[in-house]
Structure formats: structure tokens, C-alpha cells
């Protein structure tokens, strides 16, 4: 009888922690409250945007170019396979041990994590454009650059967004362990329990989970918005289409 | 399904007696009685009350434009599609008395895309139904080898996968797989539809030869009227909307189409198509003067007066045709060595269409009909062919004999 109530109690306490600051367990400073969570969330998003931005700068042009040339498929697939085989904790730990802590290093490590889905999806997005469509465009006199800008890019946009979405969600998740490398994100209350207490730990877990889900859903909506209307199709086709866009969108290449 | 697979249950054992591997299972008699099919959501019925009778051992061809319901009719036989009304009787017994899966194991099934199992070898594909029926391993192996030979596949194919075969070879495997338990009834949905014309022609001929010995009852679907005429003992022409436009033998169909739709579907060249049904031996042959090089021309001219054919034919010592002679060739005293024009040569078993085409390709519109040794046994004239085609009181001979193109040797 008492256990469920106790659980509710802990969760209730955690929610209270998000809205109202209280004294730290170690005494002295105030912890928790909307102000602190807003600043932690801001930092969390800042490192995420920096990492995904950096990754996009490298991976998007490369993926689009390789896709346009229909070359380097092996590279695109290998990068995503290797990316999956190196656990995020190992990647961050390697950065700490060999390069040291700090915002720049963490952003760099997270960027490495973000590259594979963006690269693979951009590549696949372009290569899946019907060859006949491109052939017809070239036949009508479009230049290479026009083909990329006017045909490949718009048609690849849904998959490109899918890759970005995957990366953003992955990076939000991994940024939770950034405090071990000296970047204070929403993971800080989770990891330094001694300062924030059980309520703070749980509160941060709730906020991180919400942040990830909101990013996933929000970017999913954006992905649908950039999908050309004809490709969204009829209700039946949409359901199937979304299922498969999502398959690719997660960057889970199968080979 | 209620019957356990793998074990030879009572029904399965009864359906596959020890001798099932040899063609002494009697072919089935098939009957459609007021069969109706209305797909859910469709405004009109796809099949409106179809009644048909297929005698045992014959090939029924369902033919008609795409979407008229041929596949639907065929698939109702093995209950891949359940009719909305009416009955389908196999040897007088409704096809609903047995569980669907059990019924299907007794009905050969061949489709255009072959539907071969990509993950099974050719031998395993062919053994599918025998294995379902729980045949012993040794018997399955024997039967598989026998079937591959029957459809003209090298035994070395047994261990290959379907992806390693050409389209024509795959279709042969499809036929072998359908014949595995020597089913009394076979369903074939455009089996040769996706194959190049030359291979298709060969497969058709081989299949007809096979059918001469197997004598299965076959429902054969095609949208190609030429294939229908070639393969069918009986042809059911279907019209969009699932109506049966005409049900007749190929010859009847070509001779007297029931209505404008059938006439159009059969084609403006239906008279020529009838040539595909007959053989040279079906026509009465004529005679002409046979001469040798060196014969006196006066004698030849004399003989010609009573001849049915206005040209003398030069033959060699063994009676083989060498050349046709005309007036110019008979100017000298004797027939000069080497003069005359080329002779079209046909055999008694040749299809009339091919023979006629050969005649048309030569200057002299007569063909020498030769026996197995190449010796002339008579002359085929284009007049005789034309007489055969003219609609008259006497129907075309092969129809009288009740034989489709598949029968006779």
C-alpha cells in the first residue's frame, strides 16, 4: 500500500524541485527551481546546437555531393556502422583522456556522434531520387548545380531532416553525460546526486526525457512539413510512407 | 487447417496412393454452377453467374481482355478466392467439402511470376507438396528427378536456387512443381506470359506434348487469343463484367464468333488463325506430272493436259523434289539439267499456317508434300487451302475429329 504512494511522493517531490528552488543537501547554495532548470536546459541546447551544427557543416555537403555523384556509398555506410560501434560514453571518455575537458571538446565529441546519421541520410536521400527524373532534367538542359539545387535537394529534404532529427535526439541524450567532461548540462543534477539529492536527480531525468521527446516530435513535424505535398500522398500511402521515412530517418541503415 | 502436415493422414494418403507418381490418376471433371463473385466494396459483380462444364482431361482456356475476371474464375477453383454464390464441382463433389489447404495440395498451381521459393533449391521447390503430404524421402527424390526430366531440365539444376535460372527454366520448374503429385486438375494463370516469344513458343509446344501423355484437366488463363487457340481444347471467351461471351472449341470460335465482341477479340484475321488448327495431312492432296531432267518435252506437255496442277515437277532418282518447270523451260527438245524454279517443301504433320506461308513465299504457288525420306507424296495447292477456309456446309476436318491441336501425333 505504501509503496505506490511513496513513488508518487518522490515523483511529486521531483516536480516540485523543478518549480521551486531549495537548499542544497550539502548546505549553503540554493538548488533547483525554474531559473536553474532554464539555464541548464539552455546550456544543454547550446552544446547540442553547436555539435549538430558542426556535424551538418561537414556531413551535409559531403553526403549531398557523394549522393549526387552516386559514389562513396561504402563510405557513407561504413561511417554509420563505425559510428554505432563506438559507444557515446567511450567517445567522450577518449576525448577527456586524450584532449581534456571543456565545452569545445565536448561539442567536438558530440559532433562526431552526430555525423553518421546526417551523412548517411543525405547520401541515401539523394541517391534514392529516381534516375529517370534526373535524366529528364539533364536532357532539358539543367546544369549539375541546378540539378542538385532544384531537384535532388528538395526531394532529399525529408530524409535530410530525418537524419538531423536522429542526430539531435542522440546528442540531447548524450549531452546528459557532458558534466563528466566539465560542461554543466541537464545531466549535472543526475550525476552529482550529492548536491541535488534524489528529487533533483529525478527532476532532471524528467526534464531531459521531455526535451528529447519534444525534439523528436517537433522535428518529426518539421520533417513532414518539408516533405513535398505530392509525396505525402493519400491517407493510406502516408501511413506506409511515414513508416518507411522513419526507418530511414533514424539512420538505421541495414547493410 | 485441421490436417497435420508431414504425417500421411488418412485423407492425404488416399489422395496420394503409391502410384501417384505415374500418370494413372484419373483426370478430374470440373463444373461451374451459377458461380458469382462480388468483391466487397465493388458496385458490380465481377463474375455474374458463370456456368461451365469442363470434360476430364481437357484444357479449358479462359481468355479475355485484362480485368475481365479470368484470374478470379481460376482462383475460385482452389478457393484462393471464395465465391459469393454458386458451386464449383470437382468430379461432382463441391470444392468446399474439404479444408482449403487439403484441396489445394491436390490441384496443380502455376502462376506467371512463377512464385518459386527463392530460399529453396529447385529440387526442394518441386518437392513442396510431396513433403506436405509426408511422402518418404526416397520416393520424393525419385519423383523429383523424374519431374525435372519430364519438363526438360538437366539434373544438375536440382541443387541450384531459382535466382540461378533463366525465366524459361524457372517456368519449367513451376510446371514440374505443379505436377509433383500428378494432380487430377491443374490451374495455370498466364504461365508463359512473362517469357520471350521464342521460348514461349517452345514451352507451349513442350507442354502440349506433355499433356498428350498426362491428360490432365487444366484451367489455363491467358489474355492472348493466339495462345488460347493453340492451347485450348475448349475456350471460354470472357467479356468485361465477368460475362461469358462464348464457350466453344477453337475451330467453332474462329468459324462462327457468337457476337461482335468475340469477332473483334478474335481478330480480323480469324480465317488465317484457323490455319493454325489444321495440318497438311488434313487436306486432300493433288497430283502433277513428275519428270526427270533429260525427259522429252513433248511427252511432258502431253502429260500436262490431264494434270490437276499446271506445272511439272522435276524429281531425282529417289523421288525427291528438285524444281518446278514452266513453259519457258519446255522450249527445247529435252528438259535441260538445272532449269526450273525452287520448290516449297512441306511435311504431312506441318501446321497448315506454316505450310501456307511457305507456299506464299515461292514463285510457284504449290508445295511438294514429302514423306520422312523426302520423297514427294503429293502436292498442296493454295486453292486447296482457300477451299478449306471458305465457310461451307462441311466444317474443318480436325474439328470433326474432335481433336484440338494438342491431340494426334
Amino acid at each position: 500500500m505504501s509503496t505506490p504512494l511513496a513513488i508518487l511522493g518522490i515523483f511529486g517531490d521531483a516536480i516540485d524541485f523543478i518549480f521551486n528552488a531549495r537548499e542544497a543537501r550539502t548546505g549553503g547554495a540554493e538548488v533547483g527551481g525554474l531559473g536553474e532548470f532554464a539555464s541548464l536546459t539552455g546550456k544543454h541546447l547550446l552544446v547540442t546546437v553547436a555539435a549538430v551544427g558542426l556535424a551538418s557543416l561537414v556531413a551535409l555537403p559531403l553526403g549531398l555531393y557523394l549522393g549526387h555523384k552516386r559514389r562513396g556509398g561504402f563510405l557513407a555506410v561504413s561511417v554509420s556502422n563505425v559510428g554505432r560501434a563506438v559507444p557515446s560514453l567511450v567517445l567522450i571518455a577518449l576525448f577527456i583522456a586524450f584532449l581534456g575537458v571543456g565545452f569545445a571538446n565536448v561539442a567536438l565529441a558530440l559532433a562526431l556522434l552526430a555525423i553518421p546519421p546526417i551523412l548517411t541520410n543525405a547520401y541515401v536521400g539523394v541517391t534514392q531520387v529516381d534516375r529517370d527524373v534526373i535524366d529528364a532534367a539533364v536532357g532539358q538542359g539543367l546544369t549539375d548545380g541546378q540539378v542538385m539545387r532544384q531537384i535532388e535537394l528538395p526531394l532529399a529534404l525529408p530524409l535530410i531532416f530525418g537524419g538531423l532529427r536522429t542526430s539531435v535526439v542522440n546528442v540531447i541524450a548524450t549531452a546528459t553525460i557532458a558534466p563528466i567532461a566539465g560542461v554543466v548540462t541537464l545531466g549535472d543534477p543526475i550525476i552529482s546526486q550529492s548536491v541535488y539529492g534524489d528529487a533533483g536527480k529525478l527532476a532532471a531525468a524528467i526534464v531531459v526525457a521531455l526535451l528529447a521527446v519534444v525534439a523528436e516530435v517537433g522535428l518529426g513535424a518539421a520533417q513532414r512539413a518539408v516533405t513535398p505535398a505530392p509525396l505525402r500522398g493519400t491517407p493510406g500511402a502516408t501511413r506506409r510512407g511515414r513508416f518507411f521515412v522513419k526507418t530511414a530517418g533514424k539512420g538505421l541503415s541495414t547493410s | 487447417m485441421s490436417t497435420p502436415d508431414q504425417t500421411p493422414s488418412g485423407a492425404a494418403a488416399a489422395a496420394s496412393p503409391a502410384s501417384a507418381a505415374s500418370p494413372d490418376r484419373a483426370p478430374a471433371q470440373l463444373e461451374f454452377v451459377d458461380v458469382v463473385k462480388r468483391y466487397p466494396g465493388a458496385s458490380a459483380a465481377t463474375i455474374e453467374s458463370l456456368s461451365l462444364d469442363v470434360p476430364a482431361g481437357e484444357i479449358l482456356v479462359l481468355v479475355g481482355p485484362s480485368g475481365c475476371g479470368k484470374t478470379t474464375v481460376m482462383r475460385m477453383v482452389n478457393r484462393m478466392i471464395e465465391p459469393s454464390g454458386g458451386q464449383i464441382l470437382i468430379d461432382g463433389e463441391p470444392n468446399t467439402t474439404r479444408p482449403a489447404a487439403e484441396l489445394r495440395r491436390d490441384i496443380g498451381y502455376v502462376i506467371q511470376q512463377t512464385g518459386l521459393f527463392p530460399h529453396r533449391t529447385i529440387a526442394e521447390n518441386v518437392a513442396t507438396v510431396p513433403k506436405l503430404l509426408g511422402w518418404p524421402k526416397a520416393r520424393i527424390a525419385d519423383r523429383t528427378a523424374e519431374l525435372l526430366e519430364l519438363v526438360g531440365l538437366d539434373p544438375e539444376f536440382a541443387g541450384r536456387y531459382p535466382a540461378q535460372l533463366s525465366g524459361g527454366q524457372r517456368q519449367r520448374v513451376g510446371v514440374a512443381r505443379a505436377l509433383a503429385v500428378d494432380p487430377p486438375l491443374m490451374l495455370m494463370d498466364e504461365p508463359f506470359g512473362a517469357i520471350d516469344p521464342i521460348t514461349r513458343e517452345r514451352l507451349q509446344n513442350e507442354f502440349l506434348r506433355l499433356q498428350e501423355t498426362l491428360k490432365r484437366t487444366i484451367v489455363f488463363v491467358t489474355h492472348d487469343i493466339d495462345e488460347a487457340i493453340k492451347m485450348g481444347d475448349r475456350i471460354a471467351v470472357m467479356r468485361p463484367g465477368g460475362h461469358l461471351a462464348q464457350y466453344a472449341t477453337p475451330a467453332e470460335l474462329l468459324l462462327s464468333p457468337a457476337d461482335e465482341f468475340v469477332e473483334q477479340f478474335v481478330g480480323a484475321d480469324r480465317a488465317l488463325k484457323r490455319l493454325a488448327l489444321g495440318r497438311v495431312r488434313d487436306l486432300r492432296l493433288e497430283e502433277t506430272v513428275r519428270v526427270r531432267y533429260g525427259d522429252p518435252t513433248a511427252w511432258v506437255r502431253e502429260q500436262l493436259r490431264t494434270s490437276q496442277v499446271p506445272y511439272p515437277l522435276v524429281v531425282d532418282a529417289d523421288g525427291r523434289p528438285l524444281a518446278w518447270l514452266d513453259d519457258d523451260d519446255l522450249r527445247g527438245e529435252r528438259v535441260v539439267e538445272g532449269v526450273g524454279s525452287a520448290v516449297a517443301t512441306v511435311e504431312r504433320d506441318d501446321i497448315l499456317r506454316d505450310a501456307f506461308s511457305d507456299v506464299l513465299a515461292h514463285r510457284v504457288q504449290f508445295a511438294a508434300v514429302v514423306d520422312g525420306h523426302g520423297a514427294v507424296i503429293g502436292i498442296l495447292s493454295s486453292d486447296a487451302v482457300a477451299r478449306e477456309l471458305a465457310p461451307g456446309p462441311a466444317p474443318v476436318e480436325p474439328v470433326e475429329a474432335g481433336a484440338g491441336p494438342g491431340t494426334g501425333s
Binding site: A6, F11, V31, N81, A85, V86, P87, S88, L89, V90, A93, L94, I96, A97, F98, V169, A173, T176, I177, P179, I180, G182, V184, I190, I191, S192, V195, D198, L202, A204, A205, V208, A209, A212, V213, R239, F243, K246, L252, T254 | M1, M80, A101, E102, L103, R104, Y109, I111, Q113, T114, G115, L116, F117, P118, H119, T128, L132, A163, Q164, L165
Partner: protein
Amino acid sequence: MSGALGSIPLLAQGGEGFVRNRESGSGASCVSDDGVCPAWIVDHFDRYMEPLGRHVLLTVVALAIGFSISFTLALLAHRRRWLIAPVVQLTGILYTIPSLALFFLLLPITGRGFLTAEIALVSYTLLIIFRNVVTGLDGVPSDVVDAARGMGLNDRQVLWRVEIPLALPEIAAGLRIAATTTVGLASLAFFAGAGGLGDPIYADLNFKSNVLVAGGLCVLLAIALDLLVLAVQRLLTPWTRAVPA
């Protein structure tokens, strides 16, 4: 405000069971410099065996349970298509929640330890495997299924003898992705008190030798599982290697 950085509070939570011992053995100066010390690695390699075993256990159990659940769900959804959307949405949310957050959300309910870690790890495999099984079954050519039915295979026989074998490459691909993903996530399981290779990594983040060995084992484990599934798949699907005529 935070002061989270620093090894004392971190150790208090994470690396129990992994005793730091850098002084003993050879190359003491290399070790005190946090360097890459081959001699130290050779001397202390055995201390990574227990975390490695634990990591393997965490991963394999999660994969086995995750596969059973998602495979069953996929078979159900294969015939009842309406199930696909809700299953994908639900497992999609589970997949989205950061693992670290999920561990700590579960702690008040299931407590610290193996169970909590497994619940989280299993929940990440569901989407991946479910989606690949459904995609694989959908990819079976319809003429093959039609021919199978036409020859008298019943529903169960069609499923187990035709559809599932032909979906194996896609299913294996899903399992491979799930395997490498789970190895990675299991390195965070020590936050839930379930051990694994994350333990030694976290215990001494600055010591290059330590991070290299433990991290390397993680990567090798991921690759090994990936290759193992691939090998089994190739063994089970000989037809995929048949050279076309």
C-alpha cells in the same frame, strides 16, 4: 552552482566494485602521468574481465528479451496491420528517452541494479527489431506467398516456411543494429548500479590506459556481436549468396 566535476562524488556513485590501483606494477611514472602504458595494461588486464563479462550478460539478456518481445509483436502486427502504428509510436517514444534519464526514472520503482538496467536496455531494442521484422515480412514477394497458399500450405506453414526464412536477412540486420546499440547503452548501465565496462571507464576518466582498454573492449564487443549475427545469418540464408545465372 554545480561543482559536479571532480572524481570524489562521481566515484561515490559510479565505480563501486572497481578498485583503482594505479601504483602497483611496472612503469609507475607512465601511470602517474595518466599515459598509455603497455606494461600496466598487461599487468592489470584481468581486472577488466569481470566488467566485460557483466557487459556481455547485460547485452545478451537484453537482446534475447527484446527480440522475443518485438518478434512476437511483429508477427501479430503482420496479420493485423492496424497494430503497426501504435507499436511504432510507443516503442518510438521509449527509443527517444535518453537512457540515462530512463535509468533514473526507473530507480524509484525498480531500484538500483540489473533489473532496472535490463528494462531500459530492452526498451531500446524494441523499435529497431520490430521495425525490421515487419519490413522483412512485408518484403517477401507476394507471388511467392500466393504460390505457397496455392499449393496448400496453411497460414502457419506459409509464415514459418516461407515468410520468416525470406525475411531473415532483414531481421538479422535489425538484430545487428540492436546489438551494437545495446553494447553502447550498456556502458551507461553502471549509473543504474548494474556494472559493465562503463564502471572502469568512469572510475578513472583521465587515465588514458584505462579508457583505452575498457573503451576498446566495448568497441570490440560491439564488432564481435555484429559479426556473430552476420555469420549466423549467412549460415541460415545460403540462397542469398547464390550467383545468378
